[in-house]
């Protein structure tokens, strides 16, 4: 009794300590789990972009249904409501007031902003060229647009700025709201103020958007108008909610099913609850282990961890069925060593995840190891101590005996079975080898939880908004804002020849919104004084229809611009240019980053030759202010990152397999024995992988984890079958069946989820563990044929007696 009290106290104390660690742990749900432990500069940039970049904060909103007047009214009132909301950095919907504010800003500061302004532009010859161009333009239909500008801006600087900003890529407007090309949708773009990795902020912003829409739609009485939203924050929030929902719903459903199975076997609620003690303790200790070794706990660890240590439910099944029939000591002597070995095999398997190179997988490994060790310890020590005195389990012996009889018959066909299994294995291996080039998905997006329909909507809204998905960025780092702006200007100049040659469609350049102070200063000092400008105008106007003597406003404006203060980020306030600028410039604790987004020359063929861009950037002279310029190919870089994880995980899995062979060989003191144990498991893995491949699925990291789980869970089965000389006792057979049913049910439910990563796990593990059990039984069981069954029953009786005596 004293030991029993001591065991329970130690258990509770451990749980309490684990609970403290769990409660004090820091939980994160961002991309940092996918950042390698020792990232390259490019990988760091990539993750910074995915986390903090403007794209990560942009919500694309569309309204469809109803009539245009309703959609336009809702767009306006949503824009007004959201602009007043501090959770948003900017709202754009094409409205005239915002466009007017922008135009006024560009016009007022045209001599600091226009890329065309230099000393040459304001020489007599430069003026002549610019004025001739303007005279021509006045004769054209578009002259109507510039006519009012000409007296102030005869050299066309305002238009030059608008061209440089790439404003023609903006969506079309109708009645002061953006509309899609087919006119069926009105469009808005919202930028969240908080960082893109702040999912709670994104979630709040989306809720605010929906609320603004609903109240506007109600006010309009427009029931047919629907709200559509897309963009990274929408995806992030939706996939978190979806995974949470799916995980919670499926865990509950799976839990109910497993509990139902257990209850029907145990026929005691107390035993069922106690049976969950190992897995619950394991989960708690697992999270604590992760928290203590990593400092932070990834959302994915919480999400998937408990499914990975699901096999610890099996431990208690083996315990209750075994111990209730033959006593705890019999269980300890006969079954526990096998369970322990199975657990150690699983630990070896999961240990292969730990050095995977990125915390996302490493945490799953640590969690599983900690969790399984704890669950096994609880099964070994706590369950016997707390086992209800009187437990009237359903008698599974008949079931076990029938199974044993079946297996005995199957044993006669053992050679045929082994031959068939070998053939199947060879066929599966053949399929995998044939398909080896497209076996694995090489794209990070394969882990994406986003449903295809949502991806389609995203592509549509991007097309509507003329917002190409930027695939390549030039990233400029520097110690301060001015150094990155100067470097951005130099990079832009270096790419000018590629733009001219249509190898690059264009650039979103922060320096187009706000040139560096150096550039602004140079432009300002290139402006002539009033007297000089008048003289030059006289010369420049010769032979032109334009009446230069009517350009007093121009002379006055240029003269005023000579002493105008230079622009700073604060000058952009109140215009939509501020959002555009902030989207391209980031300030982090110790440096500034400017981004130049590259546009493809042809939207239908969105490929830009990265080598050409790199070569152009390589021509840039070294910079004294310490700024650096890189080309970041988002997709190539993220796919390379994923590829490196996959390679690391595969390498780890190979090492893990080796470790498992060594472990079993040591335990069984036979290498052949170890290989025999592994044969059905390897076969199950091959068959599942081949079946997935034949069904057109490309394998992802999640499938790899699933294959690992087949080995982890299946090793228990295989060990039981090789353990007893003549195969496991009928009762053990029955408990294996119960354990397998609960595993297949739990993972089978994941197949129903619409979250790709969960489905991947379910479709791998559910059929895989079933196969592992069947193959272990068929290939490993050395039961004599039914004629010898009586002898076996006799032996079973002896065992039972033995157990009761103890």
């Amino acid at each position: 009794m004293r030991t029993r009290a001591a065991i329970v106290s130690i258990w509770l104390a451990t749980l309490a300590l684990a609970l403290i660690a769990v409660l004090r742990a820091h939980y994160v749900a961002d991309m940092s789990g996918f950042l390698p432990a020792r990232p390259t500069a490019m990988q760091r940039l990539l993750v910074e972009q995915l986390r903090e970049g403007a794209a990560a904060r942009t919500i694309m909103i569309a309204l469809e249904g109803g009539d245009f007047a309703q959609r336009a009214a809702i767009s306006r009132s949503m824009a007004a409501a959201l602009r007043a909301d501090p959770r948003f950095a900017s709202i754009a919907n094409g409205d005239r007031a915002a466009a007017e504010a922008d135009r006024r800003f560009l016009f007022e500061h045209r001599y600091l902003l226009s890329p065309a302004v230099d000393a040459e532009r304001f020489g007599a010859q430069g003026l002549h060229r610019a004025l001739a161009e303007t005279s021509d333009a006045l004769a054209e239909p578009s002259g109507e647009w510039i006519k009012d500008l000409v007296p102030h801006d005869p050299t066309g600087e305002t238009l030059a700025i608008i061209d440089a900003l790439g404003a023609e890529r903006a969506p079309r407007t109708r009645d002061g709201v953006w509309v899609s090309a087919d006119g069926r949708r009105t469009l808005l773009v919202a930028q969240i103020a908080a960082s893109g990795s702040d999912l709670d902020a994104a979630s709040a912003a989306l809720a605010a958007t929906r609320a603004a829409f609903e109240s506007a739609a109600r006010a309009q009485g427009a029931r047919e108008v629907r709200l559509l939203a897309s963009g990274p924050p929408v995806f992030a929030v939706a996939s978190r909610a979806q995974i949470e929902r799916a995980a919670v719903r499926l865990s509950i459903a799976g839990g109910v099913l497993v509990l139902g199975v257990l209850l029907s076997v145990y026929r005691s609620l107390g035993a069922v609850v106690l049976g969950l003690a190992p897995v619950a303790s394991g989960a708690l200790v697992g999270i604590a282990a992760v928290a203590l070794s990593f400092g932070v706990v990834q959302g994915t660890t919480l999400g998937f961890g408990s499914t990975l240590i699901g096999e610890s439910v099996d431990y208690s099944i083996y315990f209750f069925i075994g111990a209730s029939a033959l006593g705890a000591d019999w269980w300890r002597a006969r079954l526990w060593p096998t369970v322990r070995l199975g657990m150690l095999v699983s630990v070896c398997g999961f240990a292969s995840l730990v050095p995977a190179g990125f915390p996302g997988l490493a945490q799953l490994g640590v969690y599983s190891i900690g969790g399984l060790l704890a669950a096994a310890a609880v099964t070994r020590f706590v369950l016997p101590a707390l086992r209800p005195r009187r437990l009237a389990l359903r008698d599974l012996t008949p079931l076990g005996a029938r199974t044993a009889a079946l297996l005995g018959r199957a044993h006669r066909a053992r050679r045929v079975l082994a031959g068939g299994a070998l053939l199947l294995g060879v066929a599966a291996l053949g399929v995998l080898l044939l398909e080896r080039h497209r076996l694995w998905s090489h794209e990070l997006s394969s882990l994406s939880p986003i449903a295809p329909a949502a991806q389609r909507l995203d592509a549509e809204l991007r097309a509507d908004l003329g917002a190409a998905d930027v695939a390549q960025l030039i990233v400029v780092h520097g110690p301060d804002l001015q150094s990155v702006l100067r470097a951005a200007e130099r990079a832009h100049r270096a790419l000018e020849p590629l733009i001219e040659a249509h190898r690059v469609g264009g650039l979103d350049d922060p320096a187009a919104y706000l040139p560096s102070l150096d550039t602004q200063g140079a432009r300002r000092s290139s402006l002539p004084d009033a007297a000089t400008l008048r003289e030059r105008l006289q010369v420049a106007g010769e032979g032109l229809p334009l009446a230069v003597e009517q350009l007093d406003a121009f002379v006055k404006d240029v003269d005023a611009a000579r002493t105008a203060p230079l622009l700073t980020p604060a000058s952009l306030r109140g215009t939509s240019l501020e959002a555009g600028f902030k989207a391209l410039v980031l300030e982090t604790s110790d440096h500034w980053t400017a981004l130049l987004a590259l546009h493809a020359p042809d939207p239908l063929h969105p490929a830009i030759d990265g080598a050409l861009v790199r070569a152009a950037l390589a021509q840039l002279p070294a910079d004294r202010s310490g700024s650096e310029v890189h080309l970041l190919d988002l997709k190539a870089e993220s796919d390379a990152l994923y590829e490196s994880y996959r390679a690391a995980a595969l390498r780890g899995a190979a090492f893990g397999l080796g470790a498992i062979v060594v472990l079993i060989a040591l335990a069984r003191r036979s290498l052949v024995g170890a290989l025999r144990v592994l044969a059905p498991l390897v076969l199950a893995v091959l068959l599942v992988a081949a079946a997935l491949t034949l069904s057109g699925t490309q394998l992802t990291l999640m499938h790899l984890v699933g294959l690992l789980l087949i080995v982890a869970v299946g090793s228990n089965y295989a060990l039981f079958f090789t353990d007893a000389h003549r195969g496991p006792a009928p009762l053990t057979l029955a408990s294996l069946g119960v354990a397998n049913v609960s595993t297949v049910l739990g993972f089978g439910l994941l197949m129903l989820s619409h979250v790709p990563v969960l489905t991947a796990l379910g479709t791998t593990v559910a059929p895989g563990t079933l196969l592992a059990l069947l193959l272990s039984a068929l290939l490993l069981d050395r039961r004599p044929a039914p004629a010898h069954q009586r002898k076996l029953a006799h032996q079973e009786g002896l065992n039972r007696q033995e157990g009761n005596d103890a």
């Binding site: 333009a137 006045l138 004769a139 006519k147 023609e168 079309r172």
Partner: protein
């Protein structure tokens, strides 16, 4: 107001302007039956092409600048003005959408966003379409002459319009000349020579 330095408009236009003003003063109603007939005749043309020469007289210009090109109309509402000289530029008005292509860049805008230039374009398009309702939505319409040789004086209903009047001269179902006068004193004169129907 300074008068443009360019040559004075032809005499017959001045005459019609005077007539138009007179008509406004005495509130002479447009001759509804002739206008209807003209519109019906114009509406029968589903497609039309003409080359144009346009002269712009502007305060900003010492002498008028001239552009030339081609005008195409396709019923019901597509008007394309393809300027070839002095710089190639293509303007397409289709429904409410305005597309201007110049130097290989296309800008798209909604006509509704440029209320001040709507009369410039709608006058020609609605006349070519023979769409009296569309014409009268933007203008007060006055008809002069007879169906052989007619003249439409269009006065924008929007008092803020940059355009103060548009005068369209035609013979039978053919447009010959469009003169647009603006509040600033600027004006433009579009002379059309219709291509024979294919």
């Amino acid at each position: 107001m300074r008068s443009p330095r360019g040559g004075d408009p032809p005499r017959w236009i001045r005459r019609h302007r005077a007539l138009g003003l007179l008509a406004l003063l005495i509130g002479l109603p447009a001759r509804s039956d002739d206008l209807d007939t003209l519109m019906q005749r114009l509406a029968r043309h589903r497609h039309g092409e003409a080359s144009f020469v346009e002269q712009h007289f502007m305060r900003l210009l010492k002498r008028p600048v001239e552009s030339m090109g081609e005008l195409r109309f396709d019923a019901p509402d597509r008007l394309e003005k393809r300027t070839l000289e002095p710089q190639p530029e293509d303007l397409v008005l289709e429904g409410e959408e305005l597309r201007v292509t110049r130097h290989g860049r296309t800008r798209t805008a909604s006509l509704a966003d440029y209320p001040r230039i709507r009369p410039l374009i709608e006058s020609i398009r609605a006349t070519l379409a023979g769409d009296r309702a569309a014409l009268e939505q933007v203008f007060e319409v006055h008809f002069f002459g007879d169906l052989e040789r007619w003249s439409l004086l269009l006065v924008p209903r929007d008092a803020d319009s940059r355009v103060t009047q548009v005068q369209i001269e035609g013979a039978r179902d053919e447009l010959l000349m469009v003169e647009v006068r603006e509040r600033s004193g600027d004006r433009s004169l579009l002379t059309l020579r219709e291509h024979p129907a294919p």
